[in-house]
């Protein structure tokens, strides 16, 4: 998955597990940038009675580097607070919830938002409302309107925190079954299964989103239109179970337990033994993980799993070719002059996994889900939009599609354009992304999913 359950430790802590990060120039408000960080993966919509909520004991953050040093220049922090109106009932709600203030909503969350910049912290809002989870037509009728009530505008920032529909699509079952991509299944070394179109394993699941929309002018500095974005979740260093209350108590400084910049970096590139540590480190320490990026294990496996299909890639791997294309995509951004004269996501020479967005590139009139591979300079890896097919883009990049950017003599294997987990088209998504903030679709209701 993009970053769902991507490392051993965080897979045991879903409340703090970042799943996807999006950053894009807002298509309907092009003087702003929207950043969405998703947490709590693979939510079964009907998963009550204790429905999904952010952790009161987790510090969620969205960080922005606007000068290319891989360090946060602006950080938005979110702290959540849960209130139970009636502790005598087990019910999440005791009647229909038609407004965020309804007393029929028994267990609800609010949050505080602050921003740290230039060494000082400013509280932008307190007690901001989260929407309930989408329980069903009787409990949460008119859910879209209910969720819209939870969009707040504070301190020049439009913000939302709550449940949304999963926008990420991937054929998990095939990828983790020895990269047995269904469209290519008949060519796999370990079996001769029938080729198929692919299965969207994340369809009809929900996530919890933290979304902000801020003026581009508020997050960039003069002459530096490219920003680097990542999200983190932190827990206090000590957590102790109090038998008297049945709760956990925490003490000590915040320690980062989850990090996400570019999709699939920790999941697919970083080795099992380093994944947890990677999650705990800041981006500017990513130099030590450089070898994982420039010599990706999956690139070496492809020609083994699909014998003879990737001869040129296999030769490059055998020659020990350092993948400068991947280094640029994930760790420095792509300098101007590589793709064309003007395209750039370059932030500097500091190696840091950040989702880089050139805010001077306007939203595409006709977006391609393949981003730069589809000729769309406003899509991944120039930021990431909810509909971008990052799995296919990165699989093809790993397979050599982007190697000619740094080595014009390299000939991409003919099969690379067929490397995808879905064919011929990306899958239909039950509740697809929308055209306005917070852009992710209305979450699936528990009554209807699974059906």
């Amino acid at each position: 998955m993009s970053s769902h359950r991507e490392a051993p430790e965080i897979s045991k802590d879903p409340v703090a597990d970042s799943t996807d990060l999006y950053a894009f120039v807002s298509p309907d408000k092009s003087n702003t940038v929207t950043i969405i960080a998703n947490y709590i993966p693979l939510q079964l919509p009907s998963g009550g009675p204790n429905f999904y909520e952010f952790g009161d004991d987790v510090l969620y953050a969205i960080h922005i580097d606007n000068n290319g040093d891989g360090r946060a220049d602006i950080s938005y922090h979110f702290r959540f607070h849960t209130t139970v109106r009636d502790g005598e009932t087990f019910l999440y709600n005791t009647g229909p919830i038609t407004a965020l203030g309804d007393t029929t909503w028994n267990r609800f969350q609010t949050y505080d938002l602050s921003v740290t910049s230039g060494g000082s912290s400013t509280v932008l809002g307190t007690g901001l409302p989260c929407p309930p989870c989408n329980i069903g037509p009787l409990s949460t009728p008119g859910y879209a309107g209910l969720a819209a009530q939870a969009v707040s505008s504070v301190g020049g920032v439009t913000v939302f925190a709550g449940q949304r529909a999963e926008a990420f699509y991937v054929d998990l079952g095939s990828i983790f079954d020895l990269a047995n991509l269904r469209p290519l299944a008949n060519a796999h070394a370990f079996g001769s299964l029938t080729a198929g179109p692919g299965v969207n394993a994340t369809n009809n699941f929900n996530v919890n989103s933290i979304a902000i929309q801020v003026p581009i002018s508020a997050v960039t500095i003069s002459g530096h239109p490219v920003i680097g974005v990542w999200t983190t979740a932190s827990r206090q260093k000590a957590r102790i179970f109090d038998r008297d209350t049945g709760d956990f108590v925490s003490a000590g400084p915040w320690e980062q337990v989850s990090r996400l910049g570019n999709p699939l970096v920790n999941e697919v590139l970083i080795g099992m033994g380093d994944k947890d540590r990677w999650n705990a480190l800041p981006p500017h320490d990513d130099k030590e993980f450089l070898n994982y990026v420039t010599h990706p294990g999956l690139a070496g496996l492809l020609n083994v799993l699909y014998p003879g299909a990737f001869p040129n890639l296999a030769a490059a791997v055998t020659a020990g070719t350092a993948r400068a294309d991947l280094e640029a995509i994930f760790l420095t951004g792509i300098p101007a002059g590589v793709v064309n004269k003007t395209y750039t996501t370059f932030t500097g020479t500091v190696l840091a996994d950040m989702l880089r967005l050139n805010t001077s590139v306007p939203p595409a009139g006709s977006p391609s889900i393949l981003g730069i591979l589809g000729g769309d300079v406003a899509g991944f890896p120039n930021g990431r939009r909810p509909a971008d097919d990052v799995v296919t883009i990165e699989l093809q990049a790993l397979a050599g599609a982007t190697l000619p950017l740094v080595d014009p003599t390299y000939k991409v294997d003919g099969v690379v354009k067929s490397v995808t987990d879905f064919k011929p088209d990306p899958p239909a998504i039950g509740s697809p992304p929308t055209g306005s903030f917070p852009y992710l679709g209305t979450p699936y209701s528990g009554y209807n999913e699974p059906s």
């Binding site: 602050s114 060494g119 260093k237 102790i240 400084p253 915040w254 980062q256």
Partner: protein, 105 residues
């Protein structure tokens, strides 16, 4: 609230410095301060009970409101980490580490 970088740095510093003396005071008033102690990776109620004996010279204004967690990282060298609020303080005190270890023994 700290920035991302500041969060990392806060691991080794403290908004309210906890000295060995204040730690002992905190231990002495475990009932009021909700002292929790980890030593060798395990919390031990016996130590907390032992620590409730007295509170000489305690300044209530300087008593942490939340739990104070003491992590004896290495009893032999006296490497102790004290966690309170959102701060952490590292102490090197062989005598204190020995007392804690004896208390749980």
């Amino acid at each position: 609230m700290p920035s991302h970088d500041e969060e990392r740095r806060s691991s080794g510093s403290s908004g309210r410095r906890l000295s060995r003396r204040s730690l002992l005071q905190g231990a002495a008033t475990a009932g009021a301060a909700g002292l929790a102690v980890t030593a060798m990776g395990a919390a031990n109620p016996a130590l907390a009970a032992t620590s409730r004996s007295a509170a000489p010279g305690l300044d209530p204004a300087n008593t942490p409101a939340g739990p104070v967690v003491v992590h004896v990282r290495d009893a032999r060298s006296g490497d102790i980490e004290v966690l309170s609020g959102t701060s952490a303080t590292r102490l090197r005190d062989k005598d204190l580490a020995a007392r804690i270890v004896r208390a749980i023994g």
